[in-house]
Amino acid sequence: MPPGQTQLLIIVGYLAALILLGLVSNRYFRGTAIDYFIASRGLGPVLLVLSVFGTTMTAFAIQGSSGEAWASGVGVYGKMASWSGIVHAMCFFLVGVRLWAFGKRYGYQTQIQFFRDRFESSGLGLVLFPALVLLQMPYIIIGIIGAGNMIQAATVGAFPQFFSSSSPTAHGAIPFWLGTLVSTGVVWLYVSLGGARATAWANALQTLIFLVVGVVTFAAVADRLGGFARAAQTVQEYNPTKLTRGVSDEHRRVYERKLAAYEAAKSANPRPAALKPHRPKEMTELEFLSYGTIPLSVAMFPHLFQLWLTARSAKTFRLTVTLHPVLIMLIWAPCVVIGVWATSAMVDGRPVIPADFGNPNAVLGLMVRMLADPVVSGFLAAGVLAAILGGMDAQFLCLGSMFTHDIVDHYVAHGRLTDHQRLLTGRTFVVLVVAASWVLTLLLKEAKPIFGLAIWCFSGFASLFPLVFGALYWKRMSKWGAYASVLAGIGTGVYLYLRAGQAAGFAGRVEPLVAGVVPAVPMVAAATVALIIVSLLTRAPSSATVEKFFRKNAHAR
């Protein structure tokens, strides 16, 4: 079989399974808008935990975690994965469950419906809607780009007679436009067939796939490198700082010694069979601590809010709150270890990752290529696709719901859309969102700033955390406090992004640290301060609203 065709068969099998799920879920579809958007609030605990996890984890959990570990060492697990385990579960517990309860009680299907009611303000939607859509779009586009690139990379050589290319990394591969068209088309198909139920089922399948892929890849890579212990000892020998967050004098001495050996080998042979050590890079304690603010973003992801609403009961959340940290660990730990091993991996006397390699996201792919096993490569491609599509389907459905409920029903029909009209409008908007996302992806494929922008979007969602937390727990929080919080948080982010971008140039990755901390820290701080001060200076919510949301067990009664 020509190279790339095994991988293509595995990818096609995975996409076919998604379509099959869509068809089966369609048999359970009740033909109502509430069933389409939030599965009639009927999901049980196992489906909820798998689908919430699948939606929360992006391709970064597989590709990005390995790449960041390769670049920065094991500290990436603590600053991203174990922080997320603690903070995500907290957000589900403190925010998700209560929003679900209010959603069930008062019939909310989007975040904006809740905030409009809680703050007695129709206009708040005009601020929140563009903010949420603009923060979400870069993720969707990057996801589609990732899917297209992954399909292309995995199928190189599959059809040289149909898809010839001068580039060796694209010759015979499924072209980018076709890979993105097929993957987004499949997502659209199963979302259209089964709505939120299909999305939840697909996410559950995708979660299982990328958990298995992570473990299988981990075991296969360890075996190829001579075993777990041997792989780790090589890192101790060549790049000890990849096993720590700090850089000691001993680490610097090791680096200088290994670098001198590499330079000597290189002067004798331009392609030396020696490993170039990575320059020691410190992760400060302040940076490590500040990453704890990033996972606050999950409290305001619109697609996650919609997924929360699919829960059958409040108790359904318990399994999600409990298991989420361990699920994160199961996917992140193997990928981080592979990334660390990659810094010092040698096979047949040659480094697996070339010296001065500059693309961290490709590290996992190179480690898998070292195995020379098309089946493992195919499963890795399917796993990464699963991670990408798992977030994308919920985002498409959610944007369709927001356009339907927050714009068309609220401003055009003034709340008079029938159930059938809402369903039709939602389905139409999902098609438009998918098509617009695909076209934007083709247009922005080469626009590098979009990758740098995505890092800041997480911070943008995190800066909205004070808004939702205050709305749920502080009865004195006023409408103007809400406006001030959104504008201060997002405004601070835009200012910091433009300042950092002007200094570093927008074409590259805009440095995400501001004064040694992630931008989410000043953004959340500004949003919180504005919220408190402006709320105290302006009129409190009416007693009817306070009664509605804050009387004892208001979330239930």
Partner: protein, 82 residues
């Protein structure tokens, strides 16, 4: 018990900052896991256990309501919209 669980979760967030392994590249848990990574895997497991305890002992009362009190399927137009 409720206060103990909350205190333990706060403590977990504090001990997440494991500066004590900052320069230790020699210790390998199970012969291959860097000690700092093994510690944070432990933090993830501890988070699972503690949030499980929180669900058992700190769960807000009255969240699940009888079906007849739940809303109709109609989403709200919202008071803010009038």
């Amino acid at each position: 018990m409720r206060r103990l669980v909350i205190a333990l979760i706060v403590l977990l967030a504090v001990v997440h900052q494991d500066f004590w392994w900052r320069y230790d590249h020699r210790t390998l848990v199970l012969g291959f896991l860097p000690v700092s990574l093994a510690y944070h895997i432990g933090v993830s497991v501890a988070a699972c256990l503690l949030w499980g305890l929180a669900c058992r002992h700190c769960w807000p009362a009255g969240l699940d309501e009888p079906e007849e009190l739940a809303s109709s399927a109609e989403p709200p137009y919202g008071r803010g919209g009038h």
